[in-house]
């Protein structure tokens, strides 16, 4: 009975979402499914139950964006990629990995943005501008990581430690640059 009541309340909450929050909810539901599709395109076998699981997890995230359902979704998509996408085909870093990474970026960003305000609250233009700009920066960085990983994997196959080290240097460099900028200001 309490489950039914809880579900009814959740649906009511979703119905009361403001327009800006509805747009974010569409991204929350759509992005992990897109990541799942990318894994199919990268060579994963079709598995209906994993699609159901992804949809259920995204719906839970859409209902409760400030819960750990989002983390479960991210981990599930990662696990699915790891177990279903093979790298034995000679292409260790598929271009579809970039698509999946960007989908996860969209999912995480939309979920975080939705949790910043109650569902019926409207988000102003400054908010959208700032978050769009940041997503673009992270998307560009992800593209850079993909390019770097693909280049290193093709030149030094089987030396993933080197890839990881390069990635760590990239992230560390960005963090250091930001710290210096803030300190100067």
């Amino acid at each position: 009975m309490s489950i039914v009541r809880g579900a009814a309340r959740s649906l009511d909450d979703l119905r009361r979402l403001s327009w800006s929050q509805r747009r974010l909810t569409i991204i929350i539901v759509g992005a992990p499914v897109l990541a799942w599709c990318c894994s199919l395109l990268a060579g994963a076998a079709f598995s209906p139950w994993t699609l159901v699981a992804v949809v259920v997890l995204t719906l839970l995230t859409a209902i409760r964006p400030d819960s750990q359902a989002g983390l479960s979704t991210v981990l599930f998509v990662g696990w699915y990629w790891l177990t279903h996408v093979s790298t034995d085909t000679g292409d260790p870093v598929s271009p579809w990995a970039l698509g999946a990474g960007l989908s996860l970026l969209a999912f995480h960003t939309a979920t975080a943005a939705r949790a910043t305000a109650p569902g019926s609250a409207d988000l102003d233009r400054a908010f959208w501008r700032r978050w769009s700009r940041r997503v673009a920066i992270i998307a560009a960085a992800t593209g850079g990581v993909w390019g770097l990983t693909a280049a290193m994997a093709s030149q030094h196959p089987g030396r993933e430690g080197l890839t990881l080290a390069a990635f760590a240097v990239l992230v560390g460099g960005m963090a250091r640059a930001r710290w210096v900028l803030v300190r100067e200001q």
């Binding site: 995480h108 409207d122 994997a153």
Partner: protein, 446 residues
Amino acid sequence: MNESAQAVSERSLWRPTAALLRSLYGGAAMTLTALTFGRPDLVVLGAPLVVIAVWSLMTRPRGDMNPQTSLAHQSLREGEATTWHTSVNTVPGMEQVVAAVAVGRWLKAAPATGMRTHTVSADSVSTGTTGAVIRLDIALQSRRWGRREVGSGLVAATSAWGAFRFGPHDCFPRILWTLPLPATFDAKAPTPSPHGLVGLNRSRRAGDGSEFASIRAYQPGDRLRRIHWPLSLRAGELYVTSTWADQDSRVMLLVDARNDLGESGGLGLEASSLDVTVRAAAAMAEHYLRRGDRVGLRVFGAFNVARLPAMAGRGHLRRVLDTLASIEAGTDRHSNPTKTAGDLTAGTLVVVLSPLVSPDAMTHAVTLARRGLSVIIIDTLPDRVDRQADVGMQLAWRIRRLERERDNRRVQDSGIPTVPWRGPGSLDQVLRDLGRRSSAARMARR
């Protein structure tokens, strides 16, 4: 407190959110898995999360926003609006502030959700401006009279990527008094027994006033400016113009708050019986006080409501409205008509405002009339109150209506007029009747 302890305390005000944990654990899990299983493609999947996690941790806010809330007004008239102010201090790393106020049944907010968000300017965030005040205002319109708590709400703030959150901080409610908006009312008929010193009602005795009474021969003591010169010149002796004295009346409003029947939709919508009663009482008080009469107020059926003695002036109108706004229907089940009559003196016009569904109002009216006071009952039962969907309720209301009619007839037979509330002119006819009755010859009891 030393500096490091204070820094820890300030940081603890900002708690990590599910978004930070997602980026941190999700990114770390994918990167470690990539390393363990030799899968560079998983680095690409986890890269955005890792970068966001690092970004979030580096921009962790610290400091107390010190949220403050206030209401612009403590009292309003029905339909008027006030503003709920929220102010917070900016702290480095704070990016978005959200304020939400509980919008009760009788409030209308703008924005309609009762929530407002504010994105801190990019300059303030990047330069780490501290101490600047951000204000978020939500307009609240009160739609029904009464005393209620307003402004219970939450204030929260988030950092970059929604990674850290301050609050939600509870805002304590404030008391907002909504004074009834008086209905339209006007009475052209004079009150039956004016007996005060000043006012607009013509008394039954001659004296200083503005209304012409007669022309009579001059008597020592008459003022020279009262001499009627044309007639005095023709007659060869002095004549003066006499006037009726202007006097004020004493009006006592007796409000029945025993029941509140019907649905109240707020100002401009459907009115319950208590809405009609309170707004009618406010209208009559405003009307008579503007004329210079003295108005008092007694309420029965509501607990802890002040008894206002008959007084004049605009300040007293505010007291009457405050008292009406404090009424809560049916909170007092004991009323004593003798006590209600209390210090009412002869010549007071008592107006009982009641939906007439409980016998108390009629008992009060009869008790007061037996003491020689002029009493009028105003029926404030709304027309639509008995339009019920349920057949059983319809039947019950029909029976109740019949009982009311019977009781009304009995009360009218004892000389107390009952009129339905119709706004302007509701009382004119009964006031004229009462005036005629009070000036008519009476049979004396021996």
